[in-house]
Assembly symmetry: C2
Homo-oligomer: 335 residues x 2
C-alpha cells in the first residue's frame, strides 16, 4: 500500500540513494536523472515518511509550545509569531495548551521530549527541576513571561512595570492628576508589577496622587462594580484618570461610569491593558497598553534556535517594552 523510496527508485531505474539525493541534495544529481525521479514520485504519489527521517536524523524539525490557554489572544498571537519565525526555517510548531494545569503541562512536555523536539517554549508553572533536566537531556527551553534563577535557561518577557509607568505617565501627560488603579488580586505577578509601575510614575510627578481600587478578578463584571464604586465617591475624591489592569476591567469601568453620567474622557480619562481587539470597538474607543506578543513568540524561537545551533552559547534574557495605543478614552479634556 505505502509507497517508499524503494518503489520510487525501481520505477525510475535508479538506486535508493539517488532518490534520497534528489530530495535532499539535488545538486548532486544530474538534471535528467532528477527529472526522471521526480516524475516517478509524482506518479506514484510518494510521500516521505517523517518518522524514518527523524529516526535517522536523531532529532525532529519541530518546536514545542506550551501555552496556558490557546484562546487567550495573548497566547494566540504569541503562537502566531512563533509559527511565522519557525516557518522561515522550515520548522513546525506543535502547540499544546496546559489550561494552567500542572499535570497537563507535564504530559505535554513528556510528549515533546518523546518527539525529540528541538526545544520547547513554555510560559507557566514548569517545575524548575524538570526544566533543568530537560536541558540536560538535550531539549532546549525558552521561558515566556517568567524568569528563573537558573542561568542556563533563556527567557523572553514584557516589562509590566514599564507598562504601568507608561499608562500612568500618559494619563498625567494629558492633564490628569488624581489617578485610580483598578485591578487585582495583587497576588498575580503581572498585576502587582503594573501597580508598581503606576506607583513609580506617580512618585516622579509633582502633585499627582494614586488610589487603588482592588478587584478579585479581571472580568468585565468586576470592572463594572469597581466603576460603580468610583461613581459613588464624593466628587472631590473622585479620580480624573483611571488605569485598569486589563481591558476587560476597563470596559466594565467604562460601562459603569457612563451609566453614572460621567463622561469619558471629559470627566475621567480611562486606559486599559492588553489592547484586545475589542478595545477599539467600545463606545468610546479605549486607550490601552499593547504587548508585543507576536514579537515575543518570534524572539522566543530565535533564542531557541540560537542555542540549538550553539548549545554552549550563553542563555539570554530579553525584555520588551510594551507600547501605548492612544484612543479617544484618554484624549485631552476639551478645555
Amino acid at each position: 500500500m505505502a509507497i517508499g523510496v524503494r518503489d520510487v527508485a525501481d520505477a525510475a531505474g535508479v538506486s535508493v540513494g539517488t532518490v534520497s539525493n534528489v530530495l535532499n541534495n539535488p545538486s548532486l544529481v544530474a538534471p535528467a536523472t532528477a527529472q526522471r525521479v521526480q516524475s516517478a514520485i509524482d506518479e506514484l504519489g510518494f510521500v516521505r515518511n517523517d518518522a524514518a527521517r527523524q529516526l535517522r536524523a536523531g532529532r525532529s524539525r519541530t518546536i514545542g509550545l506550551v501555552v496556558l490557554e490557546a484562546s487567550n489572544p495573548f497566547f494566540a498571537d504569541l503562537a502566531r509569531g512563533a509559527e511565522e519565525r519557525a516557518y522561515t526555517d522550515g520548522l513546525i510548531v506543535l502547540t499544546a495548551n496546559s489550561d494552567d494545569d500542572a499535570v497537563r503541562e507535564q504530559v505535554s512536555l513528556d510528549m515533546f521530549q518523546q518527539q525529540r523536539v528541538l526545544g520547547v517554549v513554555i510560559s507557566p508553572r514548569a517545575d524548575p527541576v524538570r526544566i533543568q533536566r530537560m536541558q540536560e537531556q538535550g531539549t532546549h527551553v525558552v521561558l515566556v513571561e517568567r524568569t528563573t534563577t537558573d542561568p542556563t535557561v533563556s527567557s523572553v518577557a514584557v516589562d509590566n512595570i514599564a507598562g504601568g509607568q507608561l499608562a500612568v505617565n500618559h494619563l498625567v501627560t494629558t492633564g490628569r492628576r488624581r489617578i485610580a488603579f483598578v485591578g487585582g488580586p495583587t497576588s498575580i505577578r503581572q498585576v502587582s508589577d503594573r501597580l508598581i509601575g503606576a506607583t513609580r510614575a506617580i512618585g516622579s510627578q509633582q502633585g499627582t496622587t494614586l488610589q487603588v481600587v482592588e478587584t478579585t478578578n479581571m472580568t468585565v463584571l468586576e470592572g463594572r462594580s469597581a466603576g460603580e464604586s468610583i461613581v459613588a465617591m464624593e466628587p472631590s475624591e473622585r479620580p480624573d484618570g483611571v488605569f485598569a489592569a486589563n481591558d476587560l476591567l476597563a470596559i466594565g469601568v467604562m460601562q459603569a461610569l457612563r451609566s453614572g453620567g460621567i463622561s469619558i474622557p471629559d470627566d475621567i480619562a480611562l486606559i486599559g491593558y492588553d489592547d484586545i481587539d475589542f478595545a477599539m470597538s467600545t463606545e468610546v474607543p479605549l486607550s490601552s497598553i499593547r504587548q508585543p506578543s507576536r514579537k515575543l513568540g518570534h524572539t522566543a524561537v530565535d533564542l531557541l534556535l540560537a542555542r540549538v545551533a550553539d548549545p554552549d552559547s550563553p542563555a539570554q534574557h530579553i525584555v520588551f517594552d510594551p507600547e501605548l495605543a492612544v484612543r479617544e478614552s484618554t484624549h485631552s479634556t476639551t478645555s
Copy 2:
C-alpha cells in the same frame, strides 16, 4: 548521550524485548523484573523515541487539525473539543492554522501526511481532488462546516438555517413583529443560510415582516452604522426586533441604538449569533445563538476514529442544531 532501550536493558540485566514489554505489555513481565526495569528507566532518565515507535508501527498516534484561524473562538473551542476527545484515546492533535490561505493549507496537509497522521480534520477550502487522494493514500478526512459531493468523506456541521429560524422565532415569541436582519455580505454561506432561516421563520408566522439591512462585513463598526440607519428610520417603519448575523454586529447595533435613545429590549429586542464570551458582558447582556463548537470537534474526532477502526464503514454526515442563549436583550417588553 541519548539513552535507549539497549542501555536500559543492560542496566537492568534483561533483554531489550523485556524492556519493551514493560513499556507496552506489562502483564507479560514478572512484577519483580518490571520493577527492576522501571528503576533503570527512572535512573537513566530514559525517554522513548517516538520516531522509532512510529516507524515500526507504521502510523502515528496523531490527528491533524487545520483551522482557518486559531484565535477565532469558534475554532479555539473546536480544537479544544477535538483535543479532549483525542486525549481519552491517548492521541494528540496537531493544530495548524491556514489563515484562509490555500497554500498554507496545502503545506499543512503535506506535513500531516508526512507525519502519517491517523487522519485530518479540516474546515475550509481544500481542493476536493486533494482530499480524495489523501483518502486513497490512507489519510482519513473529516470536513467541518463544509459538505462535499464526495460520498466517501465524513463531515460535521451546524445548521445555520435552523439557527436563523431559532433566532427569529425567539423574537416573535417574545412579542416582536417587525424584524430586521442585519448582516452581510450574503455571499458568505453562513450569512445567507442564517437569512434563509430567518425568512422561513417569518413565513410561518402570521403578521410578521422581515427587512434586511445588508452590511459589507461583520464588525462592530459595521454594526454601528447599521444601527444608526435603524435609528434614522421613521418610527413607524422601525423594527421592534433585530437579528444580527453575528455578535460583533449586534454589539455595534446595540451601541448605536442606545446612543439614539432607543431602549433595549423595551423598544427593540436584539439577538446576535455565535455567543462569544463578550455577549454576556455588554451593557445589556446580549441574547445569542450558540454553536456547539466543542461538541463539533469532539464528534469530528469520533467520526475520524470510526473510519480508522473500520475503513470500510460508510462516511457519516452529522449536523448539529445550534442553541438559544437568552439574555436581557430579548426579554419581553415590560407590558
